[in-house]
Amino acid sequence: MSTIGNRIQQEQEEKVESIDYKMVTFSLAGKEYGIDIMKVKEISKAKRFTYVPNAEPYVRGVYNLRGDIISMIDLRIMFNLPAQKRIDDTFEDMIILHLDEYLIGIIVDEIDKVVGINSENIQPPHPIFGDINIKFIKGVVENEGRLYLILDVEKILGDRTGEEEDRIRPRLVPAAAGPERKGPRKAEAGPSEIDYSFISESLQTFSSFYVSDINRKWFTGRFEDWKQQRGKSGEEVQLQEVEDAAQFLRPFYSAHTGTFWSDEYRERLKEVLASLQTGGNLLVWNPGCGEGYETYSLAATLKEIFPQPQCKIWAHDHDLLNISTAPNLIFNSNILPDSLLDFTVEGKNGLQFNKTIRDAVLFEYHNVLHANPFPEVDLIFARDILSFQTQQDQNKLVLEFNEKLKPGGLLFIGENEEIKHPDFENISSGRIRVYRKIER
């Protein structure tokens, strides 16, 4: 399995390393276009823009974005492309761009998604592209079988003077800061808000970490620390590569991620676990078990508290590389806390857990978002799993946890995560975040 595992890792690394340019893609008159994500402040939907008299035909009006007044440019009219007949009062997709010191909005047919590419694959535009004047096209790139024209928004909408006479010069309204911002991120100023949304976006792309209510508290605090820390060292606040994202997320992970648990952590956990009522067998679900260090530590801890009942742990991970070594995990005694030594046996290649512990755990290559075919459990141990799912999947998973947990059962999530659900009572202790399912 290790050779297969290595190859998977290599392939994944190659894939991740090669992405160094991201663009927001959208369609205009059935063709695909992209805009450098660093120029995009945000995307949204809006309708009914305030008409501005005497403006160029492609200026649809101005729009109030949480206090900022933004000119709205209709790219279809600007480029003489056929626009779909607009039904009044329908929302239109718009992209808010951040150019020099201006914000400007463009209206497009449909926003597609964020596409990551390697900038080396961007090819110069060919004169026959036609529909849009070639000097507005930065290049063309292929991704998953689709061709995207990358627009040079600075040339199209920018305010630099004296370049081309026939350049289209929309009238720009400076991005004015409103006196009182509404919405959740009220306290932040303009540029900081941009960094905030870009960092959260970069974390999605580089580390598939999704900022949501589950981890927003941590993210906001970390973002402030990060800004200060980066500001001091003079580095870019934004996350440029995978390594930056990993560094940003380093404090996120719960204690002893990817290692055996210390004696101290196990003692604290035992206090929480002691309140668990079990009748008969103890059933546990451990999604996202990784290489199994967590699962084995948990199995040993449970064995100490509940020596009698049969314990069964379903340990799942969708990373084949990590989980493939878990069932026969071999390790050195120097990484093992002394108290766990009693649960191990000396094997040919190093220490291994004994048969009682290993028989208690069932490692499965499994995606937790798929059907989970096992009975209701007493304990769910899911540290730092939720944050790495899309928001939709996060909600789905919380419901799944609720469904799979017996009343009175305990749900452990990451130290920097929180959930709000009427069926879960927060009984966190210290840094250990744990919820009890309310018995109804």
């Binding site: 084949l320 290559y365 995606n367 059907a371 075919p373 096992f374």
Partner: protein, 154 residues
């Protein structure tokens, strides 16, 4: 899908295919799937019972199936006749048999059902409630997708 089950299936598929075909055998990336997916045209299905319940499906295009049958029989076969079907079911039987033997050595007890062949266009297979492990195998003659859907007997 229990981790211990994965390797025997992958290894058995490679050993057998390498043995019966004088052709390069390459592995694609393994992945999990729970939604229904199209069947390429010819599917051989082998059921599993014992410690687990489930089935293994070998899925390939008609042309791939014919090329494999021709090679294994040492004669040109140009239509999906009884011989071609028997050959493909035998291939499925050999691979699953070898995987189950390996699993037996590891202490897991499985039994097989006789293989069945299903052919036709526009077919789909769905794994209600069980996710399937997909092992894509690239041959010079085309692609075989081995779709393993098993679950522990509760």
């Amino acid at each position: 899908m229990r981790v211990e089950y994965i390797n025997p299936f992958v290894e058995a598929a490679f050993n057998v295919l390498r043995e019966v075909l004088s052709d390069e055998v390459k592995r694609g990336e393994l992945f999990l799937k729970s939604t229904s997916q199209p069947v390429l045209g010819v599917a051989a299905i082998v059921g599993l019972t014992g410690d687990v319940e489930g089935r293994v499906l070998f899925d390939m295009k008609r042309e791939t199936a014919l090329a494999i049958a021709s090679e294994m029989n040492g004669e040109e076969i140009s239509e999906m006749n009884d011989l071609a079907k028997a050959t493909i079911s035998e291939l499925a039987n050999m691979i699953t048999g070898q995987a189950v033997t390996k699993l037996h050595d590891l202490g897991f007890k499985f039994d097989l059902t006789p293989p069945a062949i299903i052919t036709g266009d526009n077919m789909e297979v769905s794994n209600s409630g069980v996710e399937a492990l997909i092992v894509p195998v690239e041959l010079g003659k085309g692609k075989i997708e081995i779709n393993v859907a098993v679950r522990e007997r509760a």
